[in-house]
C-alpha cells in the first residue's frame, strides 16, 4: 500500500460534543496503516490540548489524556498554530506535554508538539495527500 501524507485538522472544542473523541479514534486507527500522519490544532481546536482539564466535572471523556498515547502509536507530528494560541491568550506552556521516542534520533524522548505560524501551516496543508477535518 502506498504511503500517503495524512493530516487531521482539529477545530472542535474538547467538551462541546464528541467530535474531538471521534477524531482521535480515526487518528489512532490510521496509525496501524503505516502512513505519514500529522495532527494540526487550529482555532478552538487548541483547547483540546490545554493542561489541567477536569472532564469528569462535565461528564465528558479526557481527550487531552488520550493524546498522551499518540507517541505510542507512532504519531509524532502535532502542529499547533501560533496565532490560534495567541488569539486566546494562550502559549505553549499552557498545553499538555506530548512526547515520543524519535526513531531518527536514537529513539530519544522528544516533544511532539510543534508551534507553527498560520502561513506555514496553510502551506503544509497544501502538501498533504489527504485532509481530514473534525
Amino acid at each position: 500500500m502506498a504511503t500517503k501524507k495524512i493530516m487531521y485538522i482539529n477545530r472542535a472544542t474538547p467538551h462541546g460534543g464528541i467530535t474531538a473523541k471521534e477524531s482521535l479514534d480515526v487518528v489512532l486507527i490510521s496509525a496501524a496503516f503505516d502512513q505519514d500522519v500529522a495532527l494540526a490544532f487550529i482555532d478552538d481546536g487548541v483547547y483540546q490540548l490545554l493542561k489541567g482539564q477536569q472532564p469528569e466535572k462535565s461528564g465528558s471523556r479526557n481527550v487531552a489524556k488520550s493524546f498522551a498515547a499518540l507517541g505510542d502509536y507512532d504519531v509524532r507530528k502535532v502542529y499547533v498554530e501560533q496565532e490560534s494560541l495567541a488569539e486566546r491568550g494562550l502559549s505553549e506552556a499552557d498545553l499538555v506535554d506530548l512526547r515520543h521516542e524519535n526513531p531518527e534520533d536514537d529513539y530519544r524522548d522528544t516533544a511532539s508538539i510543534r508551534l507553527i505560524s498560520r502561513e506555514k501551516l496553510a502551506r503544509l496543508f497544501s502538501r498533504q495527500d489527504v485532509l481530514f477535518n473534525f
Binding site: 477545530r11 487550529i42 498560520r118 501551516l121 496553510a122 496543508f125 497544501s126 485532509l131 477535518n133 473534525f134
Partner: protein
C-alpha cells in the same frame, strides 16, 4: 500542490468561512455549497471581515443550493461563479487535495 476548499456553513452561523479565508492561498479555490452559499450574497461578500471581491483565489457556489435558498444570481457577488455538481466533481479532479472545512 493546490487546495480546493469547501464551505457549507452560513458565515453568521459559525467561523468556517473566516477560518478558510485566513488560510486560503492564491493558487487555491473555494466552493460555497449548502448554507455556505449565503456568503455569496453581495451584501455579505462586501463585509469588511469577508471582502470576497479582494480574494486572490477562485470562488464558486453551487447553483442548486443558491436557487433552493431563493438567492437570485443578480444579488450575488460578481466574483462568484455558479457551478453544478458535474463541475464540482471536475474541480475536485483539478486540485490536489480537498479541504472540507467543518
Amino acid at each position: 500542490m493546490a487546495i480546493l476548499h469547501t464551505i457549507n456553513q452560513s458565515p453568521d452561523a459559525g467561523d468556517q468561512l473566516r477560518a478558510c479565508l485566513s488560510r486560503a492561498m492564491p493558487d487555491s479555490a473555494v466552493i460555497l455549497y449548502e448554507d455556505g452559499v449565503y456568503a455569496a450574497l453581495d451584501k455579505i461578500a462586501q463585509r469588511p471581515n469577508i471582502e470576497l471581491q479582494k480574494l486572490d483565489c477562485k470562488l464558486y457556489a453551487v447553483r442548486d443550493d443558491c436557487e433552493a435558498r431563493g438567492l437570485q444570481e443578480t444579488a450575488l457577488c460578481k466574483k462568484v461563479k455558479l457551478i453544478d455538481y458535474p463541475e464540482f466533481v471536475e474541480l475536485v479532479t483539478r486540485y490536489d487535495v480537498v479541504q472540507a472545512w467543518s
